[in-house]
């Protein structure tokens, strides 16, 4: 059951400062309203994973690992590989995180990232079929939040795409229904590059890439994931507040206009 969260109290003065400055078009860290924090993206840090990425988005730190394993297809898609996205809000990342199975925030995070990748058809799942209806490759994307300073959705989505582009799997041949691996490697069949951009509404302002301090005073958030053709492939409103119809339109426009720049930075980080 989902309940209204117990949030740590935010000092009224902190709340007021963020809101008042935004009303003047300024942010606490001197960023523009539609400006991302400094982003550092590294790939291939985890040798045991097929692909991995570590993103530093301001002080937010998220690691994503990609593993590819053999498994069974879903009955309704017998000729397609399987995509599985999971997110862990690791307790070392924030005083707000506790050990235990993924809570609704972790589930929402994983599912929003999943929808972006799935709906943009970023992974060619048909190319991951080994034997129709019997054996396919499962792509596991594991999101590991290591330091939570806000905007986990964008950080996770960027790192997930980077890890997918970084991932390599062994070449293989099928002999008598068995998969025989070769020593040569090949990249995963990645066909699109979805980018999620989250806007937070504070007062009457819509800002990009909210920090934790901004998230704690925000009214609502809106995430828009778009593909390389500039089409929308996933959206998610979050938070207990509301957005006007005009704010939604404006948010989508801003997200669509900023996505190409983020996409080219991801491609740059993986050497594409």
């Amino acid at each position: 059951m989902s309940s209204t969260p117990h949030l740590p109290p935010v000092a009224a003065i902190a709340q007021k400062t963020v809101t008042d400055m935004l009303a003047l078009g300024r942010r606490m860290d001197d960023r523009g309203l539609h400006e991302f924090r400094e982003m550092k993206l590294e790939v291939g840090l985890i040798e045991r994973a097929c692909g991995s990425a570590l993103i530093n988005l301001g002080k937010t730190k998220v690691m994503v690992g990609v593993k590819v394993e053999e498994g069974q297809p879903f009955p309704d898609t017998p000729g397609e590989g399987v995509l599985t996205v999971n997110a862990e809000l690791v307790p070392l990342a924030s005083p707000l995180f506790e050990p235990g199975p993924p809570n609704e925030n972790a589930i929402e995070l994983a599912r929003v990232v999943d929808r972006g990748i799935r709906e943009s058809k970023a992974i060619d799942l048909k190319a991951l079929c080994i034997e129709q209806g019997k054996k396919v490759f499962i792509v596991f994307i594991d999101i590991y939040v290591l330091d939570h300073d806000g905007n986990l959705i964008d950080a996770s989505s960027i790192a997930s795409l980077a890890a997918l582009l970084n991932a390599k799997m062994n070449d293989y041949e099928i002999e008598n229904g068995q998969v025989v691996y070769k020593s040569t490697l090949r990249p995963l069949p990645i066909r699109d590059h979805p980018v999620a951009i989250t806007l937070a509404k504070i007062g009457k302002s819509l800002i990009i890439d909210p920090s934790l301090g901004e998230e704690q005073v925000m009214n609502a958030r809106l995430t828009i994931t778009s593909n390389k053709d500039g089409r929308i492939c996933a959206m998610q409103k979050g938070g207990t507040g509301t957005l006007t119809v005009e704010e939604v339109r404006q948010g989508v426009t801003v997200a669509l206009s900023r996505a190409p720049e983020i996409r080219s930075r991801i491609l740059g980080a993986v050497g594409m």
Partner: protein, 256 residues
């Protein structure tokens, strides 16, 4: 049940959908309130083959006590699908989808409830999907807001929800399950029609900005229509109660 094996024309040559609807036509909704005896408020919604029962309990004492918030009521929501609600049996254990939907539905209703009137209590909403046919979260939200109102909980306004999608390359209102499975996009929208603000927005699929804008406008317009129906249903309920009370009080007058 393989989507490659059974290609269905989603839109016929005369522009109608599988069930004979136009592209901008919603399935008729049947709403009823006060359908459960024990709940403080309840509602039943039917739309297509969707059959959804909603109960609201509260405001009531928070249990366990640490659940309580000092300055407002805590809203709780469970969206759940019955094992027999889908073509293949669904495990009754809450799936990740149901957990996410419970969260977004709660967030869709939070702005409507005057929760600050009832500190330290909980208001619980239970949404049981008895049969699903696409668009259950929207029907659930529409019904939950009726059930909250039926429970007499003060609200800023009702919440109405509707989904739009894309089938065979065209924007269509209120996708059924069959259309959603083969369609190219689905976008559920919930608004508070009184103040015209969006309380839920999700989307998956593939839409250009123009398609999004057209679909979004269509969904918002439909939410306003659903809102009119919600008001009618609530008024009818109050009139029925009024008549019931008057009937009961009449014989007593004769005795005097």
């Amino acid at each position: 049940m393989n989507r490659q094996e059974v290609p269905i024309e989603l839109i016929s040559t005369d522009g109608l959908r599988i069930d004979g609807r136009r592209l901008d036509e919603s399935r008729p909704i049947k709403m009823e309130v006060g359908v459960l005896d024990k709940a403080d408020g309840s509602a039943y919604v039917e739309q297509g083959k969707n059959r959804i029962l909603i109960a609201v309990y509260g405001p009531r004492e928070a249990h366990p006590k640490h659940m309580a918030l000092p300055h407002r009521a805590s809203l709780r929501c469970r969206y759940h699908m019955a094992p027999f609600s889908t073509p293949e049996r669904k495990s009754p254990a809450p799936s990740r989808r149901e957990q996410e939907l419970s969260k977004v539905i709660r967030e869709a209703l939070e702005p409507a409830v005057l929760s600050e009137y009832y500190p330290r209590t909980t208001i619980d909403m239970f949404i049981e999907v008895l049969q699903s046919d696409g668009g259950t979260r929207c029907a659930g939200i529409t019904g939950a807001s009726l059930a909250l109102s039926d429970a007499g909980i003060p609200m800023r306004g009702l919440v109405a929800a509707s989904a739009v999608g894309k089938i065979a390359g065209r924007i269509a209102l209120d996708l059924s399950d069959a259309e959603d499975k083969q369609g190219e996009a689905d976008m559920p929208v919930a608004i508070m029609p009184k103040s015209d603000v969006v309380t839920l927005l999700q989307m998956d699929g593939n839409l250009t900005y123009e398609e999004f804008e057209r679909g979004f406008e269509l969904a918002v317009r439909t939410c306003h229509e659903i809102h009119e129906q919600q008001k009618t249903v609530l008024k009818e309920r109050y009139l029925a109660i009024k008549e019931e009370v008057e009937e009961k009080s009449e014989p007593r007058k004769e005795e005097e």
